[in-house]
């Protein structure tokens, strides 16, 4: 466990405005002010953030820190939903999703209620912390359960809108925040955004991978689309853009997580898929997130090589 994130990583990739975590905390605190149904459940992570501390003073019954007890945190969120509240549970991704996986499985859908889960840490944001703090499999785990909406923002400005929209529903929603981010924000429509058009494959960049994908494809005639909502996946958009039947998925979590959806979307057409993402391997390495991008092949050079080989 850790209670703070060291300032590490490539500063060129971190916007000098707020981080995604800051954007989340601001939006959640606003929701606490605006909507008496909203409650935030924490497990020590982010508790000391100024805006949350202030919200806890103003709404002591609705900002709930259960201590370092992630399973309890998730079940508490389910129990809040059973009472009619709209819970937002938040902590580090591996502890929120992997440690408390059965709580997520049984204490929302199986109870007939919803909730909002918001993680930080992503696949290797705190690379110096090592594998214990990595959660490359989180989105794949949500794929084992019915009807979760999954947002993978690529910029701090892509956080608040989906969070506010989620608070208005009773849906089951996961938001995967990262310290890795693109230089510019994009729309949060739930649909694929067309970034550039070309004659080659459709390259779908998910969340913070977009800038690396754009660098990787700078000299290529390919179509690049951007996704910051991956569940439900925009299958219609994919069909409309996959002119050649060749699709490259670039995901910042476990490689191939969305391949089955590409196959589903294009079932009536000949198609080929290249999946690029985090490998199924425990590297036992530290370093920077950029190092891990390179080791997993999510750096611009490797993405470029793999797309070129795939297109031949």
């Amino acid at each position: 466990m850790t209670t703070s994130l060291p300032r590490i990583g490539d500063p060129m990739r971190v916007p000098d405005t707020a981080t995604m975590r800051d954007a989340f905390i601001d939006a959640a605190a606003d929701l606490l002010d605006d909507d008496p149904r909203v409650a935030v459940v924490l497990a020590d992570i982010s508790v000391g953030h100024e805006r949350f501390a202030q919200a806890a003073r103003e709404h002591p019954d609705r900002v709930l820190n259960v201590g370092i007890r992630e399973a309890l945190m998730v079940s508490t969120a389910g129990g809040l939903a059973l009472s009619g509240m709209r819970p937002i549970a938040h902590t580090y991704a591996p502890f929120l999703v992997e440690r408390a996986y059965e709580q997520i499985k049984l204490d929302f859908e199986h109870q007939g209620v919803g909730g909002i889960l918001v993680s930080v840490g992503a696949s290797y944001d705190w690379s110096q912390g090592g594998y214990t703090h990595f959660s490359p499999g989180d989105v794949a785990l949500f794929d084992t359960m019915p009807d979760w909406t999954v947002h993978v923002p690529g910029h701090p400005k892509e956080v608040g809108g989906p969070l506010r929209a989620a608070a208005l529903t009773d849906d089951k929603v996961y938001m995967r925040l990262s310290t890795l981010a693109n230089a510019a924000p994009h729309q949060t429509t739930g649909k694929l955004s067309l970034i550039k058009s070309g004659e080659g494959p459709l390259v779908v960049a998910v969340g913070p991978t977009l800038d690396n994908v754009l660098l990787a494809t700078a000299g290529m005639s390919v179509t690049v689309a951007y996704a910051n909502t991956v569940r439900p996946f925009d299958l219609e958009g994919l069909r409309a853009l996959a002119h050649t039947g060749e699709v490259v998925l670039v995901e910042p979590y476990l490689e191939g997580t969305s391949s089955r959806l590409v196959a589903e979307a294009l079932i009536d057409r000949p198609h080929r898929t290249l999946a690029i993402g985090v490998k199924r391997v425990d590297l036992h390495k530290y370093g920077t997130p950029a190092d891990h991008d390179r080791w997993h092949g999510l750096d611009p050079a490797t993405i470029s090589e793999r797309i070129a080989a795939f297109s031949r």
């Binding site: 019954d61 201590g67 508490t76 809040l80 819970p87 709580q103 199986h110 109870q111």
Partner: protein, 229 residues
């Protein structure tokens, strides 16, 4: 107090259970008196108030051996007793573990041990946050279920924060593989709960223990009920 148009009384329960499972199955038998006392004397809820925000909630955390639970729900008019005869079959609303989306009166879906108390903590917090100070949350666990670590997360947190609208009943029929040296009640009181130990067959004693929460701490009732069979 509960007001129902019950068609069955306590003496009918074993007959109702037999329509679901073998009543001689010990865990069914040992839970029966606590369940009956809760629904007959303590819980402020009725079949026509299942959506009332002000109702008491009962979370059957140990969803195993639900025959006695279904029998009590049928006796108190939450479900038709005819459902008991088709339990576990295709299309039945009654299965080996209760599903709240299928069973009127079942406040949670349970079966995997260690979920009911943490869920109850969340609901207790949610009712408090909504200013609903009258209803109480009751969660029933088994002594073996207490093995699950999630219960201990919940016990520590509820005690530390004085979650006073929460009552846990631990039905102790001596099933925990490694026992609880020093007793179960002591584990709650050490974490700031009030606790009572009671004969799990004595309805008056169970009722008294369930009502003995002190208004400033969560309350635990340890009911000893080895099977009569």
């Amino acid at each position: 107090m509960t007001v129902t148009s019950a068609r069955f009384g306590y003496d009918d329960l074993r007959g109702l259970i037999t329509r679901v499972v073998d009543v001689k199955h010990a865990p069914e038998d040992s839970t029966l008196d606590v369940l009956w006392t809760l629904y007959d004397r303590v819980l402020d809820v009725s079949p026509d108030r299942l959506d009332s925000p002000d109702r008491d909630r009962f979370y059957l955390s140990k969803g195993h051996n639900p025959g006695s639970f279904y029998a009590v729900l049928a006796a108190k008019g939450y479900i038709p007793d005819a459902w008991l005869d088709r339990a576990f079959t295709a299309g039945s609303r009654l299965g080996g573990h209760p599903d709240r989306t299928l069973v009127p009166g079942a406040e949670i879906s349970s079966g995997s041990l260690g979920h009911g108390l943490p869920l109850a903590v969340g609901t207790a917090l949610g009712l408090r946050a909504q200013g609903l100070l009258k209803p109480r949350i009751y969660a029933l666990l088994g002594d073996a279920e207490l093995d699950e670590g999630t219960n201990h997360e919940a016990m520590a947190y509820a005690g530390a924060t004085g979650l006073d609208n929460l009552t846990v009943v631990v039905l102790d029929n001596g099933s925990a593989s490694h026992g609880w040296p020093g007793g179960i009640a002591a584990r709650f009181t050490a974490q700031g709960w009030s606790a009572s130990e009671v004969d799990g067959r004595d309805h008056d004693a169970i009722e008294s223990a369930l009502r003995s929460h002190n208004g400033s701490a969560p309350h635990a009732v340890v009911a000893f009920a080895t099977s009569n069979i």
